[in-house]
Every structure is written in structure tokens, then in C-alpha cells.
Amino acid sequence: MKIANILSAKGMNVFTVAPNQLLREAIHLLVQHNVGALVVAEKSDKPIGIITERDVVRAAAGNENFFAVRVGDVMTKDVITAAPEDDVKSVGQTMTTRRFRHMPILDRGKMVGIISIGDVLKAQLEEYEGLIETLNAQIAPG
């Protein structure tokens, strides 16, 4: 299974925030879109970072006035990205071993989506359910 198979049914929306926006705005966006991460980008094409719930908690833990911090100052830089043709299994493995939960997807340099560990688990679960369903159908009395 490819990342494209997950992305196809995720819609086309990638929620981004600019690095000079305040954390307050980023938190609102996270809540408004019901997502766990926003891609940080100047324009919507190339991510320069990612800001997740974890980054927000980390910022809050060290700063009473964290609402007024700039996104660019607390985001995770050096984002690891994947491509639509990448294997879901490998991407899931990378997220698990390197302990992060979101990966922006770039298609020939252009951002086309974001995949969460939840998406990966759901896809893998459905793959196993599908195998079981198929095998059960073959042994069912006819």
C-alpha cells in the first residue's frame, strides 16, 4: 500500500500556519480543523517546519506567556517528509522508531497533504481486516 492510497481519501486540504503567526492563532487552527499538527510554511508549497500539539505543550511548560510566542520559534524544524509513492509500511515504521506522529507529503516538491500515525494505523488495520474478510469468504460454506 502506498501513501497515495491514504491521501486519495483525505481530501486536498493541508492546514498551514506562517512562522510569524502567534501560537494563539496556531492553537485556534488546530482546534478549528480538529487536527494535531499544522505545517509551517510561508506559502503553501514548501514546508519549513511543523507545529504539533506536543510543540504547544512544550512551549506552554516553559513560558507563562506562550500564547504570544511566534510559531517559528517553537516549531519543529528539519521536517521529515514522504512522497505519494512511498510505502505505508515504511512510513509507519519511521514514525514509530523516530517517535513523531505527522509527516507532510511532498509530490515533486509541492505539498499535497499530511499523514498522521493514526492514518497509517487505520490503513494497516483495514488491510488486515480485508485479508481476513477475503480468507473468510473463501472458507464459508457455499
Binding site: 502506498k2 497515495a4 481519501a9 486540504n13 514522504a82 509513492e85 510505502d87 515504511s90 509527516m103 469468504a137
Partner: protein
Amino acid sequence: MTVPDLTARPIRIAIIGSGPAAFYAADYLLKPRARVAQIDLFDKLPTPFGLVRAGVAPDHQKIKSVTKIYDAVAANPNFRFFGNVEYGKHLSLADLKNYYHQILFATGAQTDRKMDIPGEELRGSYTATEFVAWYNGHPDYREREFDLAQECAAIVGVGNVAVDVARILSRTPDELAKTDIADYALDALRASQLKKIYLLGRRGPAQAAFTNPEIKELGELADADAIIAPQEAALDELSRAALDREKDPLTLKKTQLIQEIAARAPAGKSRQLYIRFLVSPVELIGDSNGHVIKMRVVKNKLAQSESGSLNAHATDQFEELPVNLVFRSVGYRGIALPEIPFNDRFGTILNQMGRVLDSTTHSPVTGLFCSGWIKRGPSGVIGTNKPDSVETANAMLEDIAAEKMFAPAHARAEQAAEFIRARQPNFFSYADWKKLDALEVARGAAQGRPRVKFTSVPEMIAALGRA
């Protein structure tokens, strides 16, 4: 709050397509709930089941037994089938909105991706999907001709469809004669001159998309030796490391099966099936008649992307294979449907978890849904469409509960039937299909085969005793 009498106003749903995704959605939507759903399933062919009938290989009858589950769905009194009725031809989106509250598209991935290499359009170069549809007796493909007078074929790709094509080309006529392969295909394959068949994988053994029973079967063919070069069966360091890390039992088993075949000496059978890894075609070369006579391939090596995926990268080493017949099976994509937003990059309907999205606003379009390969692209096995369709069906039920749906002017089942009859008098009901089915099975029994298919629409109409 008063509860309205919902049985008096059933929700009517049209499903376009009748493959596994369509039936799994229908099954879920027909389960007893507060509101009664009535489902009309449409297929452009007179016969149902999509790729279970026209895709699954004729020598894999066991897999086709899944249709008994679909028969049980069709037995529900709130289910109707309208075969030989095509969306975009007999019915438009506006028509459907007049008769149904919701429309679900489950039309699958009907075409092949291109290799995008020079010579791809030469004579003797085909798509795997057209070959598969042809040998399975799909009415739209029965007139295709495949040049099987050649000696050497290459199948590009190592998914299960590629393996099916390799296996059908490698089987003896006696083996094929026991299946429900189309009679004209059986005749053509009986005359086949093929001696060498290549199955070409872009990546290594651990990344090959075929499933384990499929590769095992290639090693057990009656009169074809499966041959894998030991150096290509061996895992490179990156694949070995990934396997050690992930410990995926299916991948481990797959690489073992491949190495077992590689360790075997050929038994001198009539055909040789070479399974190759880490090669990609870069050009098909033709003769003066424009017929393919050679394939130039580049050797690949694997490199790990930052996401952890092992991807193929071309080296500067090339090789020429003397092939004069090529089937490409490098991925499938859906075909855009009239008036339905399409994601051209992925070859799917533009959607979010089965809800069709507007191409400009990217917000859900009321009343329109999709499931199966036209929703997520080609992946998984037949049963994978069940969780996929359940997800879409749940979105449909949510919208029904929220009263977000079409308000059809003619919301009674008999009004829809009348309209369909006016547009396509020769539609096939499920009862019609069951008659055809019984006739096919009876024709097969006489020859010791699971069935002998009707392969043209006029033939099917005549078989039912219609003009």
C-alpha cells in the same frame, strides 16, 4: 420531539458499479436501521461483480466464491440490480437526483498507468488490464487481438495482476481448459508460441507487491519453469535491515519463497518464466513494421528515502531483452466520471473519507459519495473494500441523520424503475442475471468447467429469450 414515520419515506440510494465495493456498501446500508434504505445498483454490463468476474483469474475460482456473499445481499427485498445501464449514457447526474437521495460511485480503477517510455505504443505492446478483461470474456474487450505467435513476452510489474498474466501465459491448454476462461482466449492461447516469459520488478524481492500464494503458485506450474537468478533473489543490505527491523512475517515468507525458487534447477519444462528484480524498462525497440522486437532495461538499486521507503533508482547499467510482446501492469487508475470532481494526480474521485468534494471549495458535495478503488486508488485484496465501503456508508448514514441529501421529486421505487425502463428497455435485473448465471454454469458442466461465459451483450439478451 416526534419521530416521523420513516418507513413511509425510505431513503433511496443509487450505487454506480457492482463490484465488491458496491456490494459491501449495499450490505451495510441495508442492515436494519431506523430508516429503511432502498438500493438500486447499476452496472454498464448486464452482469454484476466487477473485477470478481472480469478481473480475478479464471484459474482462481476459489476467490470468486465471494459472490455468494453478494448473492445474499441481492436477496434483500430492498435491493435491485439494473445491469446494462450506464451512468453518463443512460442516466445523468440530474436524472439520478430526481429519483434518489444519495448516489454512491464504486466504479473501480479501469485503466492502466503508462510506463512513459519510448516505444510504448509499438505493436505488440499492450496493457495488462485489456488482456485480463479479454481472457475473462469482458464484452468490451472480446474483439481485441493479442499477437501470441511470438516467442518471448515481458510483463512489466510484479503485482498480482502481473502475476496473473504471467501465469495464464504459462499454463498449458489442458490446465486452462478446466477454467472459465473465454473460449476465444482459450483458442488463442492454445495456439500460443510463447517460450520465454519475463516478469519484471522495479524493486527487489522484499518490495514485490505480489502476495505469497501467488508467487508460490508460479513455482508450481505444470509445464513452465520459474527461474530467478540467485543474485536477484538475494536481499540487498537495506532490504535486509528493514526486514530485521520490521519483522513482518508476510514479507519474510515472501523472500523465502523467492529464494526457494531461485535455488531450484530448471526441470526442462516447455516454457521458461524468468522473474527478474531491480530492472525497469527504458525503451521498447521496434522493427521496420513497428512491432516491438526488443526491450531495453536499466538495472536499479534501492535507496532509502527520508521517510524510510526503499525506492528504485536507475544505475548506468543497461541490458536488452529479446521480447516481442509486452504487457504493462505498473499500476491502475480510475477514469473520471461525467460531472464528478476528479483527482487527476491519483486517478480517483476527489473525496474525503468517501464524501465527494467540490473541486474548487474542497468541501463535501451533498448527496455524492464514493468507495473502493475509485475512492482510494488500487490497493489491497477484495475484502479490503469492506472496511473502505463501511467508512463511506457511515458517512452516508451521518448525512441522512443530518437531513443532508437530495430531495428527489420522484422518490418511489416504481417511479425509478419506470424511468430506467424508458431509458434502457433492455436492462438486466438480478433475476435475469441469475438465469444467465445458471445457463453459464450448465454450459460449463457439460465440459467439466465452472462455467462457460456469455461474452457479448446481444448474446446475453438472446440467452434470456429476448429479441
